[in-house]
């Protein structure tokens, strides 16, 4: 009886959480629904970054560029070409982000170790600068693409903040399922292998570079999807959503939530989004200062994280040995 409960416990919790998520809009104001949607979107962006960051050990500080590719793709198609269908738009965002990630990865993977981090930073900012300068990517006096609206699903729906939130929730759940599938698949374990012991992996016959590239492309593509959703939700996409600051924030979400864990990055995305929002509500001028202090404190406290990981590990082992015995 106990064993059965243990096996059922996790999926049950998840189902309850998701169900709760669906019912949430009824408890929130329109403004809060927007915030919740935003939080989900960044949760997705962080979770997809973690595919490269936590799984492959590729500390990319340039993922906002891919976020931007997704957002700009749908933005331009919608505003300049009048395409309204969600399905076409998202497909375009996926293709665009996949291509961009491949190019990004090809260049960035030329650098090793800490260099890689620097290069991703610079590449990300390069994309942001291009967004700032290239007139094709500007539709208004501000240097951004404005006038984006919620797309059509072809089901005759009428969007409200609440229903869009639920729609995004559905996509978020789907994305987490996809990510989980990748992580637990042979591909996922090979990717983790390249992070843990690169030399051994090569000796075991794995082309380490290829797996790293795959991780980056998968990660970037999914981040692009999140970016597309962001564009829909925010109504615009600007270079600041693409640049160093945005990329850094994504990485911080992953780190704070816990890289390489099951849902850590996703939760980190939600937490940081809520944090930044409420901090600026409290005191708009000093909000970055507060956030900065939180980050520094988290970094300092992290030396004890090792012990926390041990505790979690031992709990996980009890679970595994329960199942295996």
């Amino acid at each position: 009886m106990n064993k059965d409960w243990g096996r059922v416990r996790r999926p049950l919790t998840i189902v309850i959480v998701i169900a709760g998520g669906f019912l949430l809009p009824f408890l929130l104001t329109t403004q809060q629904q927007s915030l919740a949607t935003r939080a989900l979107i960044f949760g997705m962006a962080a979770a997809s970054l973690d595919l490269a960051y936590g799984q492959a050990g590729l500390y990319s500080l340039g993922n906002a560029a891919l976020f931007g590719v997704g957002g700009y793709t749908v933005g331009i198609l919608m505003v300049r070409n009048g395409i309204e269908s969600f399905w076409i738009l998202i497909a375009a965002a996926i293709v665009g982000a996949a291509l961009a990630s491949a190019i990004f990865g090809l260049i960035a993977l030329r650098a090793r170790g800490l260099y890689f981090i620097l290069v991703t930073l610079a590449l990300g900012q390069m994309v942001a600068n291009t967004a700032q300068q290239w007139s094709f990517l500007k539709t208004s006096y501000s240097e951004s693409v404005t006038g984006i609206y919620l797309p059509a699903l072809g089901l005759g729906e009428k969007w409200t903040n609440g229903t869009f939130y639920q729609f995004v929730l559905v996509i978020a759940v789907l994305m987490m399922v996809v990510i989980r599938r990748i992580v637990t698949s042979p591909l996922g374990s090979a990717i983790r292998g390249t992070r843990e012991n690169e030399v051994r992996m090569a000796v075991l016959g794995y082309n380490v570079w290829r797996y790293r590239l795959m991780a980056l492309v998968l990660s970037g593509t999914l981040t692009g999807v999140a970016g597309a959703l962001f564009a829909f939700q925010a109504g615009l996409i600007a270079p600041t959503n693409v640049g160093v600051a945005a990329s850094g924030l994504l990485a911080l979400m992953v780190i704070i939530g816990g890289s390489g864990t099951r849902y850590g990055a996703f939760i980190g995305g939600i937490i940081v989004t809520l944090l930044t929002y409420y901090a600026s509500q409290w005191n708009e001028q000093r909000a970055p200062l507060i956030i900065g202090v939180i980050f520094v404190v988290t970094a300092l406290v992290n030396r004890y994280r090792g012990r926390l990981v041990e505790v979690v590990r031992s709990m996980r082992h009890r679970e595994v040995s329960d199942v295996a015995a």
Binding site: S185, P186, S189, A190, E196, M201, A202, V203, L204, G205
Partner: protein, 245 residues
């Protein structure tokens, strides 16, 4: 045809010649031990065969095929596998996961197939766990929860998982007792008889017991290549060792 051939292989670091014109030929199923004082170039030669280090000049061939420029993962596919002197394991993966990773490259895989459904793969992993005395229950352990001996066995299990044509063992007896060492030899003997084994070691008794041939290296050159008995009686070899000590 010979399994492995080295043709005048050399490797320099700046002005230092770590390996200076070594040639050798290895037949399938042969066991060769490489000995020599520290700094003789054994590890470098070893790494050249394994692909961890590139050559400055010379050629490495496997079954007639030039593998000199191949990366380690390409050499794996060609049939070369190796173990490391300090166990090179995956710190956060269980024993079963590590062996599965190792065995998987032998068979085809599909990205979306979860590894529980691949029965043949699981059976191979179980077999390896049994043969190397890693025990079914240990399948869930992480490396740092295992004894040193168990870690070494895992290290070797990883190396032989590909059923290689050429097995490179870097000081396989380090930290093992004499009986564990004999055990090891027995297990490797159980592999395909056409598998050739090249190993580096410092323990003379072990080298004598394990090898068909012994190669002696000194200052980057191969100074002797003979049967163990002949090498033991070779006065030059004695001098090389005593002189270096």
């Amino acid at each position: 045809m010979s399994l492995l051939e080295l043709n005048d292989v050399a490797r320099s670091y700046g002005g230092v010649k770590a390996v200076d014109g070594v040639s050798l030929s290895l037949a399938p199923g042969e066991w060769i031990g490489i000995i020599g004082p520290n700094g003789a170039g054994k590890s470098t030669l070893f790494n050249i065969i394994g692909g961890q280090v590139s050559v400055s000049s010379g050629k490495v061939s496997l079954l007639g095929r030039d593998v000199t420029r191949l990366r380690p993962d390409q050499r794996y596919r060609a049939g070369i596998s190796r173990s490391f002197q300090t166990s090179s394991l995956f710190p956060d993966l269980t024993v079963r996961e590590q062996l599965t990773l190792a065995c998987r490259q032998k068979s085809r895989w599909s990205v979306l197939r979860s590894w529980h459904s691949d029965k043949a793969l699981a059976a191979r992993v179980d077999h390896l766990l049994d043969v190397w005395n890693l025990g079914r229950h240990e399948g869930s352990s992480l490396p740092d929860e295992m004894s040193y001996g168990a870690q070494r066995r895992l290290e070797l299990a990883l190396a032989v998982s590909s059923e290689p044509k050429l097995l490179l063992l870097d000081e396989p007896n380090v930290g093992l007792t004499a009986s564990e060492c004999d055990d090891l030899r027995a297990r490797i003997r159980e592999l395909d008889p056409t598998t050739a084994v090249v190993f580096v070691a410092h323990d003379m008794a072990m080298v004598m017991g394990w090898s068909h041939r012994v190669l002696v290296m000194h200052q980057g050159k191969m100074v002797a290549d003979d049967t163990p008995e002949a090498i033991a009686k070779n006065p030059f070899v004695e001098e090389v060792y005593l002189g270096a000590q």
